[in-house]
């Protein structure tokens, strides 16, 4: 296992070298909170941050994304043809993405990069990214990545992992892409593996021990879908919900979108926008019927999708990386950890006396 040492004073020099080959993105301190943004020349990402309010999923799936355009102006050669927008897919490098957010992109990939269907827009944007993760030393009280299949030093979905070791970073190249980028940056000072690993293990154990919040997911797969669907707790769980889409918009693993056509005069575009299962419009049929007509239906759907349908379909854990954003941003304090516990421990009705 190779580890590279970067002195912090040399970090900016490496970034400048990277900026010649990639467009750099990273966490930046804004007026209200940190956010992932393009880094200007010479700008250093600010690694002193808790999870950003919005997840970096927008780097691959922007909230609004134009896919096609057309013109009805007969003076133009290609009028009346719906043309695909040529995307800018030049290489981008994200410095300082959290392991949970990188794992989330990998999880979402299941939906957009499947054997049967492949979404060229999503896949193109995803493949243009190189992800330098920053091992998380500042988990929040709402973080539960360690029981959601990840961890603060998790490498899944990353091309390289940076560990802040005080005056210097220890970096582990994970993929060829990552290795190449490290070379471009001129970060090639390999250090003794055992020493590096000892330091990293110590930091990792400390970070993991700071994560005190957990979810139990062990029974979800064996639970009866119908029993969970009909469980009596949904009325209580959904009562406070105001059906805003905040939880789904801040979630790094929510991938739903809506296709919209917008026209102006003789030209127009076809775009996709984030959509949310919290909205009544999400499932409204052309007939006017809505199979998820009440907020109970919609709240149940969100949790059933993340914690049951996904679990059953992929047999690889829950559709959640434990970043805690939905818990922090929910205006009425609906907490996925609480709901997960209710679902996981819901008694099997076949074993319960009906009286």
């Amino acid at each position: 296992m190779k580890w590279i040492k970067i002195e912090k004073k040399d970090f900016n020099r490496g970034l400048s070298a990277l900026a010649k080959a990639y467009r750099l993105l990273g966490p930046v301190k804004k007026e209200k909170a940190h956010a992932f943004e393009a880094l200007n020349e010479g700008q250093t990402p600010d690694f002193d941050f808790f999870n950003t309010h919005l997840s970096p999923k927008f780097l691959v799936q922007p909230q609004s994304e134009i896919l096609f355009e057309y013109s009805l102006d007969e003076g133009k050669e290609d009028h009346h043809i719906l043309k695909e927008i040529q995307k800018d897919l030049l290489p981008r490098l994200v410095v300082g993405i959290r392991p949970c957010d990188a794992a989330a992109l990998l999880l979402v990939r299941r939906n957009f990069d499947a054997s049967k269907y492949r979404d060229p827009f999503w896949v193109g944007a995803y493949e243009s990214l190189t992800l330098f993760g920053l091992a998380c030393g500042a988990p929040c009280a709402t973080c539960f990545c360690t029981t959601a299949g990840g961890g603060p030093f998790n490498e899944a979905g990353l091309d390289a992992l940076l560990v802040d070791a005080g005056d210097y970073f220890l970096v582990r190249p994970i993929t060829e892409k990552g290795e190449g980028a490290l070379k471009t940056a001129g970060w090639e000072n390999a250090v003794d593996e055992k020493t590096a690993l000892d330091i990293v293990t110590l930091l990792k154990t400390a970070a993991e021990s700071r994560i005190t919040s957990t979810v139990e997911t062990d029974h979800l797969k064996n639970q009866s879908t119908v029993a969970l669907y009909d469980a009596p707790f949904w009325e209580d769980v959904s009562f406070s919900c105001i059906n805003c889409g905040t939880c789904t918009y801040v979630c790094p693993t929510c991938w739903c979108f809506d296709i919209q056509d917008e026209c102006f005069g003789y030209s127009g575009v076809r775009m996709r926008n984030w959509d949310s299962c919290m909205y009544p419009l999400f499932t409204l049929h052309g007939s006017g019927h809505n199979p998820r007509g009440t907020k109970l239906h919609r709240v149940r759907q969100r949790f059933m999708h993340k914690l049951k349908y996904y679990v059953d379909k992929y047999d690889d854990g829950i559709q959640c990386v434990g970043c805690g954003r939905c818990i922090q941003s929910c205006p009425v304090n609906i907490d996925i950890r609480k709901v997960c516990k209710l679902m996981n421990s819901h008694p099997d009705p076949s074993t319960v006396c009906p009286v």
Binding site: F239, Y249, L281, I334
Partner: protein, 317 residues
Amino acid sequence: MIEYNQKIREIAARLLKEGKVDMVIGFRKGTMPMMNEPCFIKKPEQANLLVWDSHCGINLANYLYDRKEKIGVVAKGCDSRNIVTHIVENKIRREQVYIIGVPCTGMADKRRIALLTQKDGEIREVSEEKGRITVKGDKFNKIFEKGEVLQDNCSTCLHRNPVIHDEMVAEPVPEQTGIDPFKDVRETEKLPPEEKRVFFKNLVADCIRCYACRNACPLCYCPTCFVDEARPQWVGKSVDPTDTMTFHFLRAYHCAGRCTDCGACERACPVGIRVRQFTKKLNKDCLELFNWKAGLTLDERPPLDTYKPQDPNDFIR
């Protein structure tokens, strides 16, 4: 304020036991510091779930309508004004609600507190005693006078006591005096048109169109909001700045003469937009033009859905 807890529980248990109401809507303790969750109880033995402190900012009037039960509801000043508005607008019948009035000394602004302790780290625990709020993190402990960390709307609130109630949990608190709630609006009004445009543009620049402000608002109960209409579609659904501004402006106008400045919109916004900058201007206009404040009386409809011969009409002369 925490002293109200016991009284609220007693009243709730009694109402449920006597069958005066089918459910009581109040708050239960949240899973995060500075957050409580709106909840309902239907059995007297659940009454101990109910809590009251400075983190009950959600407007419970939002949970009352389109229900069949007889409802007991815990209501602070602004909630009570929105209940009045609901009754006036026929969203709920007066006899369907039993209002448990709570004299309020304001709700804490969790964002402001988080900002004031940002350098110290994450807040892990919050407690409250005698008008002081203590927040604790892993390495810090800070005490705030509640008055310093109030939600903006609470610091300029002129109706802290419920305007309508069936029972009070305590004696009324003194109302604030000598306060100009529209100071910031006056500043904005003075701006030249172009600067005003930029002001509003910047105000909503971070909007993600999640509609949390609308959904947290007790006034926004339209079966289909104009932004969700599909035939015809009035507003685009992307994050185009013009569409986003259209949403905010139109929503504010739909609330004109009905808004109680309860602050639910700002509290709910996940990206911290000062949504009240829109609604407050209209509140000010309603006060100046019609001498009207929303939700104070059951006997009068809001000025914008009534006509009176003496209404100001200089603008069409």
